[in-house]
Symmetry: C2
Amino acid sequence: MEIETTRGGAGGEEGASKTSSEEIADLERRLRDSETLLEIGVALAGTLDLARVLELALRQAEDLCRAETSSIWELDDDSGELFFRVVRGKAAGSIRGLRVPLGEGIVGDVALSGEPAIVNDVHADPRWHGDSSTGFETRAILAVPLISRGRVIGVLQVLNPVEGSRFTDEDSRRMRLFAGPVATAIENARLYAAQKRQFVETVTALAESIEKRDPYTGNHVRRVVCYSVLLGTEMGLDDEALEHLQLAATLHDVGKIATPDEVLRKPSPLSEEEKEVMRRHPIDGEEIVSRIRDLRGVLPGIRSHHERLDGLGYPDGLRDREIPLEPRIIAVADTFDAMTTERPYRKSMAPSIAAQEIAAGVGTQFCPQVVAAFLQLYDRGEFTLQAGEEVIQSLSRNGRRR
Amino acid sequence: MEIETTRGGAGGEEGASKTSSEEIADLERRLRDSETLLEIGVALAGTLDLARVLELALRQAEDLCRAETSSIWELDDDSGELFFRVVRGKAAGSIRGLRVPLGEGIVGDVALSGEPAIVNDVHADPRWHGDSSTGFETRAILAVPLISRGRVIGVLQVLNPVEGSRFTDEDSRRMRLFAGPVATAIENARLYAAQKRQFVETVTALAESIEKRDPYTGNHVRRVVCYSVLLGTEMGLDDEALEHLQLAATLHDVGKIATPDEVLRKPSPLSEEEKEVMRRHPIDGEEIVSRIRDLRGVLPGIRSHHERLDGLGYPDGLRDREIPLEPRIIAVADTFDAMTTERPYRKSMAPSIAAQEIAAGVGTQFCPQVVAAFLQLYDRGEFTLQAGEEVIQSLSRNGRRR
C-alpha cells in the first residue's frame, strides 16, 4: 500500500546538501509557481460566475500538476455528503451523479480531515472503490480540501499525472496554495448566485401575490414566464437574455395592482369604459418598475406586451420592429395562456385550436420569428409548462446554465 | 525634479554581477513577497464587504511598502473624476471630499496612463497641488492603478516611507502585483452590493405599489421604514440587523394586497366585520413572503406587528417577550405614523400628542425598550423622516455602513 499524506507548512526544504545553483533553480521554480498562482488567483477572483470559476479552476489544476483530468466535489452541509460538482475530460462519465459520505473514500477522507492526500496507486488503497464501467481508468489521485472562511466546502482532485506516474509533494504543495483562491472564488460565486436567486424569488412572489387579486387567472404569471423562456430558448437567446426575459415576463402584469376590483373581478365581459381602465395596466406597470434603477431594461416588456405588429395594439399603437423583442415574445405566451384557460364569460380553448389561432395571427398580431419558434416547439410536443420549468430551474441553479 | 515612473515587466534583474548568495537572498525575498501577496489575495477575495476590503487593502499596502499612510481613489465613470474613497491615518483630513479630474495631478495621471508612478519629492513635481492645511505633510507618493477586468477603476497610493525617505522600484513592483487582487476584490464587493441594492429597491417599489391601492396612507410604508431603522439604530442594532429590520418594515403591510377595495378604500370607519377582514393582512403578508426561501427571517415582523404586550393585539394575542423584537419596533413606528397622518374619518394628531400616546402605551401596547429609544430620539428632535432616510442611505451605500 502506497499512501503519502502531506501535512503542514508551505515548506519544501528538502535537505541542506544542495549546491548554490540547485538552490537557485529551486527558488526560481518556486517563485515562478507562486507568481503563476498569484495571476490565476486574480483571474479566478475576477468572475462571479460559478461555471466559469469551476472550468478555470480545473483547467489550471491540470496544468499545475500535468494531470490527465480533474474534478471538484462539493460538500452538502445538510446531508454531510460530497457530491460531484464538475469534472473535465475523460473521467466525466465515471463520477457524474455519485454522492460520497463525509469520511468515506479518498475524497470523503480529505474533506473530513481537511488535509490533502496523494495516492499514487489507487488500487492498493483500501479507500478506493474502483472506477465505474466507463472506460476511464484511475491510477493516481491528488486531492486537496477546498477551505473558505475556515470551513471545508469541498474537494479538488487531479487524476493521473501525464508524465511519469507519480504525484509529488511539490504537486501537493502547489495544489494546496491553489486551493485557497479556488475555494474563495467558488464561495463568492455562490453568494452572488444566492443573492440573485433571492431577488428573482422575491419578484416572483410579489408579482404572484399581485395576480392573486384577479380570481380568474390563477398562476397566469407563472405560465407566461414558462412559455416566454421556452420561446426565448428556441429562438437561441443566451442565458443572460433568458434571465432578463424571465424578469420581464414575471412583471408583465404588475400594473394590475392599480386596476380597481370592480373591473379586475368583474365576472362578465367588460364595457368599453371598463376595457379602457383595464388597458392602463401596461402603463401602470411601467410606472411602478421604472422606480427600480437596475430594472429599466424590462420596461419595454411590461409596457408593450399588448402591442400588435399591425399597429392595432395598445398603449402606443407601435408597429412591426418598433415593438422590442421581449414584448413580442411575451405577447405570444400571454395570448396562448389566455386562450387555453377558462374565464367566467367564456370556455377555454383546446391547445391545438389556440395554436392555430397563434399561427393565424402571424404578421398582423404576432412576430413571425416568435410564431415560428412557437410552432416548432408545439409540433415537437415541447411547448409544455414542465419544459419551461426546467429552463427556469437550470437558469436559477448557477445564475447561469452550464 | 525627481520623478521615476516604473513601467512594464515584473522583473527586478538589476544586473548580472550578483554573487550566488546575493541572488539567493534576492530570490528568497521575492518568493516571500509573492507568497505573502498570495495569502493577502485570498484574504481580500474572502470578503464581499466593501468597507472591509478597503480597510484590509490599505493596511496591507502600508505594510508592504512601510508607508506612513495610504489612500484609495475611485474613478467615477460618469464624471471622469477620481474621488477619494478611503484613507487611513493622519492624511485623512487632507483629501476627504477632494475630486480630481482624470489626467490631473499625480493620481489623475496614474489613472489615465494605467501606469504606476513613484514621486519621491512631491514638492519638485509640477503635478503636485500641495496638502491642504491639516497638518499632514506629504513627502513621497507611490501610486498604482487599480485595474479590474481590463479597466482602470481607481488608484491605490501609499504616502511617505517610514524608514528612509524613498520608495523603490521594488516597492513599485510589489504594489503592482498587489493592485490586481485589490481591484478585483473592490469590483466584486461593488457587484455584490449592487445586486443587494437592486433587491432592496425592488422590494420597496413593489411594496409601495401595493400600498398605492390604499388612497389614505400615501407613503406610509416609507415612513414606517424610516422610523423603524431610526429606532433600531438608537437601540444599538448592528448594520446587518438594521438591514433586516428595513426589509421587514418595507414588507409589513404587504398582505393588504389581499384586502378588497371596499374595505381598504372605505372612506368612513369600518364595521366590526370589515375590521375582521382588514385584520387578516398580517397573516396574508406572512403567507406571501413565506414563499421566498431567503426571507423567512422577516416573517415575524410581518405577522406580529399588530400584537400588543398585554396580549390584546392580533392575530395571535401574543404577550410580552413572545413578540419578537422586529415587530415590537415596527409597532411603535406604525402607530406613530398612523396617529400623525390624516384619515378620512379623523384628523391627524400633533407629533407631541402622538409622542405622549406612545409613552402612555408603554408596557401595555408597546415594548419599554422601544419606547425608551423613541422618547430619547424624540426629545433630541431626531425622530424625523430625514434622519431615517440618512440611515437608509448609509446602509445602502456599501451594503454596510462605515
